[in-house]
Symmetry: C2
Subunit: 313 residues, 2 copies
């Protein structure tokens, strides 16, 4: 009897193509892009590769489930209180850092170069010779230095940025010039030109960027959030932006997504909204990660990227 594996993803066809071309143990692979397509395999699948929001309503009916590999980094959909925890949950890790780094550096450069102002001038056929700013010599503070923050730090160093890092305790990234912990987040914020958060959605990260942290930022500072919306107290952010207490914000994630059309963040000056696209799960990246974990699973080895349900990441 071969291992029953279900793929449940909006990109299921891509995963099927990539996985059938990969070296895998013997298995029965079932492919579903919707709940209807998944229906026949719910009671039999032992291993599931799935987009978290798609699999969540089906969790309780997966009676044979022993391991679920998330296609996303963020798994708060699956670690919420009250949901079952009698299986191994692993997430996607180590594949988002490069896209996140491109995002953060690209948007920092556009901010410095007044890219948006120039883009609007162009629509009026208006030559716009305003002087650009530059990254070199500026200070970037990172809230969270996991695999994503570490990659942002590496590329930031390539551009000659000074990099600060706020972490719970870890100090392992060679591209962070100085670390801050505990109640020192506002202290770090006070010396940042840019502050970038890449934290998961947990109780500990909720509203970590609050009124006090926003008040500590210099008036010319830019906030970037590529982690989860819950990290930022959005009411406090709207107030700080409306009062001009910080220069702007580049936001990929929000407390409610999609961001409601009447939300004030849509139209505040110097706010850039990127609709949760900073780092998507490319099947080309996730499939090899799943294939490797599948080899480990079959061999009875410990899985990589295991989630602690209690901690939430």
């Amino acid at each position: 009897m071969s291992l029953e594996v279900l793929i449940l993803s909006t990109r299921a066809a891509d995963y099927a193509r990539l996985l059938t071309a990969a070296p895998l143990p013997p298995l029965a692979l079932h492919v579903a892009a919707s709940h209807t397509e998944a229906e026949p395999w719910l009671a039999t699948c032992e291993v599931v590769l799935a987009d978290p929001p798609l699999v969540r309503p089906l969790l309780d009916r997966m009676t044979a489930l022993r391991w679920l590999q998330s296609t996303y980094a963020g798994v708060e959909t699956l670690t919420a209180p009250g949901l079952r925890r009698d299986y191994q949950l692993t997430n996607a890790r180590g594949v988002f850092g490069e896209m996140m780094a491109e995002y953060v550096l690209g948007y920092l450069i556009m901010h410095e170069r007044r890219g948006w102002q120039r883009f609007l001038a162009q629509r009026e056929r208006r030559w716009e010779p305003a002087w650009p700013g530059r990254l070199r010599g500026k200070t970037l503070g990172l809230i969270g230095v996991g695999s994503i923050g570490a990659e942002i730090a590496r590329v930031a160093h390539c551009f000659g940025l000074r990099v600060l890092g706020y972490t719970r305790a870890s100090e392992g990234c060679p591209h962070v010039d100085r670390y801050f912990h505990g109640d020192a987040l506002a202290e770090m914020a006070a010396v940042c030109d840019y502050l970038a958060a890449s934290l998961p959605n947990t109780d500990a990260s909720r509203h970590l960027i609050d009124r006090a942290v926003l008040a500590a930022l210099p008036a010319h500072a830019l906030l970037i959030n590529v982690g989860r919306g819950g990290t930022v107290d959005e009411d406090a952010l709207v107030e700080a932006l409306q009062a001009g207490r910080i220069a702007g914000a580049v936001l990929d994630v929000f407390q409610t997504e999609p961001l409601p059309p009447d939300h004030p963040l849509w139209t505040l000056p110097n706010v850039i909204i990127t609709s949760h696209t900073a780092a998507l799960s490319f099947p080309e990246d996730i499939a090899p990660l799943f294939a490797e974990n599948l080899q480990r699973y079959v061999a009875g080895q410990e899985l990589r990227y295991r989630i602690d349900f209690e901690r939430g990441y």
Copy 2:
């Protein structure tokens, strides 16, 4: 009798502040932000630090001139046929690469991430979850690998881009993966996802990017020009963009600047116009370079960044 030095620049006050704080040989420093202010010193100044367009009409009246340090990299204003060549001309070099690299990488990232499309969606309060592209694994071809191209290549490697270089003969940059010379420009273009030019304005660079090179580019390719407008055959570029034969262009420089309001490039889709701001001459960068050359001049040593009037760079 001390050395008579004239500063003639729109940023003259900044230069005066920076130079009086620098270690300099004994000299009489005259500061002018306009022709009127320069008038009293024209016949006596031996050394001039100047913005090329500002100094050009006064050249013939500078009877004591022996050395002119340009605040710009591009000195075609001063090397044009018919102008005097009986003095040493030096330009600004080695200080623009970092800004150029920020520009090129920033605009490449925005192109891949559909930043402009998302920016317009935001103005309609529209969530825009279209998938972004990424730099990693793509190929960037550089036309010209001087100090600017070399810095672009270095940062491009940080992002995991493959870098090709088209040069006259030089192959000295460690961040170029493969070089092309002579008539092989179209051959290089054919394998590029992005093609970026950073050439000075010379007879050799004129319309180097012509119909044949544009035709050789893949349909998904993006052209970037941060050098001088003359490098690109603009008529051929407009045709290629109108026919959709390339994906787009990011243009900082043009055959005529400011770009005339009726020029078709203003309104073509997928063209970004940045009004000659990719790398401006920050007095903070140029003043130390001039101060160092001034020490050399007084000591009778060879000046750095000397321009060959015949070659034009």
